[in-house]
Subunit: 255 residues, 2 copies
């Protein structure tokens, strides 16, 4: 049966969703506002909107500690590198499986702590070989319902393509069904993109209404193999930049 | 001092923010998910995204009862009329002061009930003569913090223009300071538009960081009178359509 979602709620969590129009990317700001330092992190920042994001961090009196990526994006350059040049001490994060470089490389089961809150890392390869989903903690002090930052693994009524960057429709299907659809049904899904103006969904909703992921594995694979998508415009710029978490300009300056 | 926002929380409220890219308009879906009928309303629906909104209403198992407008928009056609043709029984709502026609004309102090939840109507003229702000109820069963749907009265770090549709910078300043900035500081501000990818702010945040509304009244008026904005592209189509809450096609069919 359908689970009805309210809003994620926590006495500690400060949460903001931010949108970058050109690539239709969502960036997420999370902070433990009850902690004296107000430690904060950004999930999937975009280079073009770094100034907006950092000015919000300043206005809210937060201390940014992590710039986190769900995967090596092909459609925009991550803001991680630029953020590191502007806010000393911020550490960039990406999965070890992505083979990209960053200050911290995470694996399934790792916890990313900020104040009393944390994100749990789940391996959800398939869109790319190194895709992970970050899920808020499980416990009475953590936001309820839980929140899953799924990158391009699960989009609202959709999913990321699987035809490049080590993508695999079989692997994506298995990742989503074992790592995301096993979360409580009221878990909020916050994707890396939306192209229709949706901002959030839930596990329960996508299990019922996702037009691709509700199908059996063979049908899913055949859908994904017949999408006939064009080559992404930004990929040749974005992927090399994102493999070093947006530090390409710094490197050329140092050279 | 700064109030730190978490998320609005309620055991009853189902809430979704939806974005229409061409006019950068936010539409809001609210429902009492704990009520057997799951009565729902849409704030500021856009004609172009009605099918998306209604399909979400259906997926979530809600019964849409109201299509509500904060004001007579100049930049897009309201979805109210189209919704009424697609979902029998839905009532359109706008303020009496707007002089537009709709099924229900509301005034300051009116309550719009949906299940056990309600929106309170506050008169916030200035961007247009009939602008209102809808605020979630005050009480233990209502969402906490409160949520204010401010239309174009307060935008995130901005405000609506005041140079047409009976606009008045003096009136807008007074409306915001008497009707919105008097709400609890943790009240969420959900505007009708955002052009930079922000999704939400709070009363406390705008009282500290709004670059226009934090100024004294004379400075505000002088800012507003010197914006030198161009004539809105859609105004000659949108305003007549919105004065009859988007029922223009129905009327021409009936003629
Ligand atoms: Fe991607
Ligand atoms: Fe407007």
């Amino acid at each position: 049966s359908m689970s009805y979602a309210t809003q994620p709620s926590s006495k500690k969590l400060l949460f903001r969703q931010l949108f970058e129009k050109e690539s239709s990317t969502y960036t997420y700001l999370l902070a433990d506002a009850s902690h004296p330092d107000k430690p904060a992190l950004l999930v999937d920042p975009v280079d073009r909107t770094v100034d907006r994001d950092l000015s919000l961090v300043t206005d809210l009196g937060l201390k940014l500690v992590y710039a986190i990526n769900t995967h090596v994006h092909a459609d925009h350059v991550t803001g991680s590198g630029l953020i590191k040049t502007k806010v000393p001490g911020v550490k960039s994060i990406i999965s070890k499986a992505s083979k990209a470089s960053a200050d911290i490389l995470v694996e399934a089961g790792d916890k990313i702590q900020f104040g009393d809150l944390y994100l749990e890392v789940r391996a959800t390869p398939g869109h790319t070989v190194g895709c992970v989903t970050y899920v808020t903690g499980d416990g009475p002090d953590q936001p309820q319902p839980r929140m899953a930052f799924t990158g391009d693994a699960v989009l609202i009524r959709g999913c990321g393509r699987t035809d490049f960057q080590g993508g695999s429709s079989k692997q994506l299907y298995e990742s989503v069904h074992s790592q995301i659809f096993t979360l409580p049904k009221d878990t909020f899904i916050y994707p890396a993109h939306d192209y229709k103006g949706f901002t959030v969904s839930t596990v329960g909703e996508e299990m019922l209404y996702n037009p691709r992921l509700t199908k059996d594995e063979e049908t899913f694979k055949s859908i994904m193999e017949n999408l006939k998508l064009s080559y992404p415009k930004m990929i040749d710029v974005a992927v090399p930049a994102n493999m070093i978490c947006g530090l390409q300009d710094l490197e050329s300056k140092a050279a």
